[in-house]
């Protein structure tokens, strides 16, 4: 019924209106005739009838309001009216829509990143039940709440838990893939056979590993990643069943994984069974696995954690040597995928949200300024019977219309912004496909509506509260009530305060980044080329074979023109890779297991320290004479040397593992400067270097090579041919300069910072524009008053002081409030900051000063306009 009436009323609106008009007029006529019959004169009767009716238009309006669909009709009218108003004021509309589009666009762009990174669905069935299980290690010398589990712990967790439906272990692997074309290095994983039931993901072609294949010494089988299958084997389906060579050994291809399978690392190309031996499966000492598990239905992460913690306690009692201080942490897979991006993304989201509020304050301020121009129009409507709610609604419809236009343009900005973000985002950030999907569009729509209501509400309420009589009086200049001006001023104060918060946040990040860049690395990254070449297979099974190759390679490359040094290492600095072990110092009283120091270790070739220009502080460098016949030698970092009194480490001996381990003693022959291996932040971790030409018992080999030369990249073809002349089947990969590695390492921070910096700049501009707007408006409003002041003898200087003083007062209040808010908010940033406190006085003061100067400049421009007011003109006006 309602709907039918509404449709009829909307479709035949004009006809209905005409009939209503006729009906009400007819009533008036009948009333008048009644009065004439009662003896009144015609004129008198008409007047009386009108009085009794109480205004034909009001009666019609009241009647229209009860009709079905009236609200829709009003909305439509308001929309058309709003559109007309916006068209009539193109300057205002363009400025408002553009600022809104920037604010909404920035929010949409950052939200789309959050959508892609934090909210995206993992490509596994019931992925919310997938968790990573880590060792939570708390030892005097080592703390890590996400440490890689030892195989023995994995086995015991798996057998003793009651919370997981399945659990699988993963180990990072890499191979030299040879035969059928260029030798290449590929990376991948060794999976235990349960991985498929954990992830519930299966090959697109072929079959999964059988439990028998997941045993040591089983026949070699491999699953290809989709990328490797298409790039190396041309997507040939007959590859299944054929044999490929990995590190010189035969592997039978049993299948191909799906295209979207990127577990656990996006760079993985090949998967083999883990195949741990019974001995390894009982090992609780070496920690090198990653463990993924599927929660049983209804089991929470917290429940799983408490259950496994009980198992871990039992294991500590059972194996005090290895499991003291080893607990368990259970982390949802999704969090692992988002990883370190979570906080920076939320910070950026917070920043753009503040920015949007500033934009709203700015547009609201424009609306306030315009409200005084429109005061008469609004008063007229009120006089003609529009209720206050009706007026507020009309003004709100206008602002939501404005925001929607801004939203549409903002979506376009975001589209472009995402494109730019993706092309500038560093690869290490591993940004997934960021795109505008339905969720993002819904977000934009809601943000636009929210913005429209936020910035429209205050001006609408203020405008609808105008004193009718004073506004309608012809020539009333001071048509804007005090409350209205105060609301306008507090808006600008809010905007400046928000600007201060944003700028202090970005200032802190910038300050922190400068500190980070200035941290000494411990080596000279300039002019160093790096590449990866790993010896694998039966041709290099003995240390002598490896050493012979190392020596030949270093001599060949070292003789190339311009080369100032060549060396090899197991893990390059700043690549976030490395290995750690406990050591026992000779002559120390035996300590409880877990009290032993944890030390990072790396193998190097002679020439490594020289090439990287890592200064030798004491003792000597490695040389070719540190061979398998010579006593085992180690070079330690300055931070490790502190283990011995006065850092006097030369000649001292230590061994790997526990004091009673049957391993040889190793003698310290040199001390080098600390090198930033894993990260720039924090104290440099103690480290030791072993000679790759000796068997120190680590099982480490050289992976990465460094070459120092002024124009190193040009040398690469010559280096390749030098290597290929020694071994044509050895693949060379990961060619990059040390500078590139450094900037890759700093890439995410630099990226986050440049975004934050951009938003900071936007905040500064918005604050300036807002203050400029309100000051200009004040000057325009007070032209008359300024004219009088000048006519009465005020100097131009006094006028400038008056205007700038008013703006400066708003700016200072805003800055003070902003600093207060920032003091509360910036501690949230502290984990992103390095070398700067979250309440760094320098940053706070700097931002306050910069913003105040910008604010004064923004006031000065309109103040100059006020200064040039000609008193005569101003007084004659009106």
């Amino acid at each position: 019924m309602w709907l039918k009436n509404a449709i009829r009323n909307l479709r035949h609106k004009q006809q209905a209106d005409e009939l209503l008009d006729e009906e009400v007029h007819g009533y008036a006529e009948l009333l008048a005739e009644e009065k004439i019959r009662g003896g009144m004169s015609i004129a008198e009767a008409r007047r009386e009838a009108k009085m009794e009716l109480g205004g034909i238009e009001q009666v019609k309006e009241q009647t229209r309001e009860v009709r079905a669909g009236h609200f829709l009709e009003t909305l439509w009218q308001d929309l058309r009216y709003g559109a007309r108003m916006l068209r009539k004021n193109p300057g205002f509309t363009v400025v408002a829509v553009l600022t809104l589009a920037l604010g909404i666009g920035a929010n949409t762009a950052i939200f789309s990143m959050i959508d892609a990174i934090l909210l995206s669905r993992l490509p596994y069935p019931n992925a919310s039940r997938l968790v990573m299980v880590w060792e939570d290690v708390h030892l005097p010398h080592y703390q890590n709440n996400e440490d890689t589990p030892a195989p023995g712990n994995y086995v015991d967790w798996k057998e003793q838990n009651s919370v997981f439906s399945s659990m699988a272990a993963i180990r990072y692997r890499s191979w030299n893939l040879t035969g059928s074309g260029e030798p290449v290095r590929i990376e991948g994983e060794a999976f235990s056979a349960d991985i498929f039931s954990v992830l519930q993901t299966y090959p697109v072609i072929g079959r999964i590993f059988t439990a028998d294949e997941d045993r040591q010494g089983a026949s070699h089988v491999a699953l290809l990643g989709y990328g490797l299958w298409t790039s190396r084997f041309g997507g040939d389906r007959t590859i299944v069943g054929r044999t490929i060579q990995l590190d010189g050994e035969d592997y039978r291809v049993i299948g191909v994984m799906p295209r979207e399978f990127r577990f656990p690392d996006p760079t993985d190309q090949l998967y083999v069974p883990l195949g741990l031996s019974a001995e390894e499966l009982a090992n609780h000492h070496s920690h090198y696995l990653r463990v993924v598990a599927r929660l049983k239905p209804g089991v929470t992460v917290a429940k799983a954690h408490s259950d496994l913690q009980i198992v871990a306690k039992r294991l500590t009692a059972q194996y005090p040597d290895s499991n003291t201080g080893v607990g368990v942490s259970v982390v949802p897979l999704r969090e692992m995928v988002a990883g370190d991006l979570r906080l920076p993304l939320f910070v950026l989201f917070g920043v753009v949200a503040l920015l949007l509020l500033m934009v709203c304050a700015n547009v609201a301020s424009l609306l306030f300024a315009r409200a005084s121009v429109r005061a008469r129009e609004i008063a007229m409507r009120a006089a003609l019977g529009a209720s206050r709610a009706r007026l507020v609604l009309q003004l709100l419809v206008e602002s939501v219309l404005l925001a929607s236009l801004g939203g549409i343009l903002g979506l376009a900005f975001a589209f472009w912004g995402i494109y730019v973000l993706r092309s500038y985002a560093p690869v290490t950030l591993d940004l997934p496909e960021v795109h505008l999907d339905a969720l993002v569009c819904v977000f934009t729509l809601s943000v636009s509506l929210f913005a429209g209501i936020i910035f429209g509400l205050a001006p609408a309420f203020q405008s609808s509260r105008l004193e009718l009589s004073s506004v309608l009086q012809e020539g009333a200049r001071e048509s804007v009530p005090r409350a209205h001006r105060r609301a306008h001023a507090s808006l600008i104060v809010t905007e400046i305060a928000l600007g201060v918060v944003v700028l202090i946040g970005t200032g802190l990040l910038l300050h922190s980044f400068v500190q980070l860049e200035e941290i000494p690395l411990g080596f000279q990254a300039q002019n160093v080329l790096t590449f990866r070449a790993i010896l694998r297979g039966p041709a290099y099974s003995s240390l002598a074979q490896q050493t012979a190759f190392y020596r030949q390679m270093i001599e060949h490359i070292g003789s190339l023109p311009g080369v100032g040094g060549v060396g090899g290492i197991s893990f390059l600095p700043l690549t976030l890779q490395g290995r750690t072990t406990v050591v026992s110092i000779e002559g120390r009283a035996p300590v409880a297991s877990g009290q032993l120091p944890f030390i990072d270790y790396r193998s190097v070739s002679p020439g490594y320290f020289l090439t990287m220009q890592i200064p030798i502080r004491r003792g000597r460098n490695f040389s070719w004479s540190d061979d398998s016949k010579a006593p085992l030698a180690a070079v330690v970092s300055a931070s490790m040397a502190r283990i011995w009194p006065n850092g006097d480490a030369i000649g001292k001996r230590f061994k790997l593992g526990a004091p009673d381990a049957k391993l040889p003693w190793i003698t310290v022959v040199g001390v080098v400067t600390n090198v930033r291996q894993l990260g720039l932040v924090g104290e440099p971790r103690p480290a030791m270097y072993f000679a790759a030409t000796q068997d120190s018992g680590t099982g480490d080999t050289l992976r990465d090579w460094v070459v120092r030369a002024p124009d190193s990249v040009v040398l690469m073809p010559a280096i390749r041919s030098a290597i290929s002349s020694i071994d044509p089947s050895l693949p060379v990969s990961r060619v990059q300069t040390m500078e590139q590695i450094r900037s890759t390492y700093l890439g995410p921070q630099r990226f986050e910072l440049s975004l934050a910096g951009l938003f900071g700049l936007a905040a500064l501009i918005l604050a300036a524009v807002g203050l400029y707007g309100v000051t200009s408006y004040t000057v325009a409003r007070r032209t008359h008053e300024i004219g009088i002041r000048m006519a009465l003898g005020a100097q131009r200087r006094d006028v400038v002081r008056l205007i700038v003083g008013q703006g400066a007062r708003l700016a200072l209040i805003g800055v003070a409030i902003g600093i207060g808010v920032a003091l509360v908010l910036t501690p949230l940033l502290s984990s992103l900051l390095y070398g700067v406190s979250a309440t760094d006085p320098l940053t706070f003061a700097g931002v306050a000063i910069v913003l105040t100067i910008v604010a004064l400049a923004a006031c000065y421009i309109p103040a100059r306009r006020a200064m040039r007011v000609d008193p005569m003109v101003a007084l004659r006006y009106e």
């Binding site: 009436n5 209503l20 007819g26 009533y27 009948l30 009794e52 009001q58 009666v59 009709r67």
Partner: protein, 109 residues
């Protein structure tokens, strides 16, 4: 002459309009005069309340309207009670009876 001004509740106005129309179709002013007459001048219905009420009740299906000639030979809109309107009047009257009885008793008690 003093008139007693009584604010009409919405439902009450509807009921009076339907009562006025129970005898036959009528135009706006006619309804207004009829209500004055049957309430002995206690209620004066102003056009500002009358027209919204008439239009609302028409949309609810209680009244139907047609255009006809008025006493002064002008076109006027005549309202009449529909079947649904008669049922509504009946139930409103019963309800009103119960309410006024209850209030009467309450005041006498």
């Amino acid at each position: 002459m003093m008139r007693v001004q009584v604010e009409l509740l919405q439902g009450t106005l509807d009921m009076l309009i339907m009562k006025a129309l129970a005898l036959g179709e009528m135009h706006g002013l006619g309804i207004s005069r009829r209500i004055e007459q049957i309430t002995k001048g206690t209620f004066q219905v102003k056009p500002g309340s009358l027209f919204p009420a008439l239009h609302r009740m028409e949309e609810s299906g209680w009244l139907s309207a047609s255009w006809g000639e008025s006493e002064n030979n002008r076109r006027a809109k005549y309202y009449q009670l529909t079947k649904a309107g008669r049922r509504q009047l009946e139930s409103e009257t019963q309800r009103w009876g119960r309410i006024s009885l209850a209030i009467e008793r309450a005041l006498e008690a």
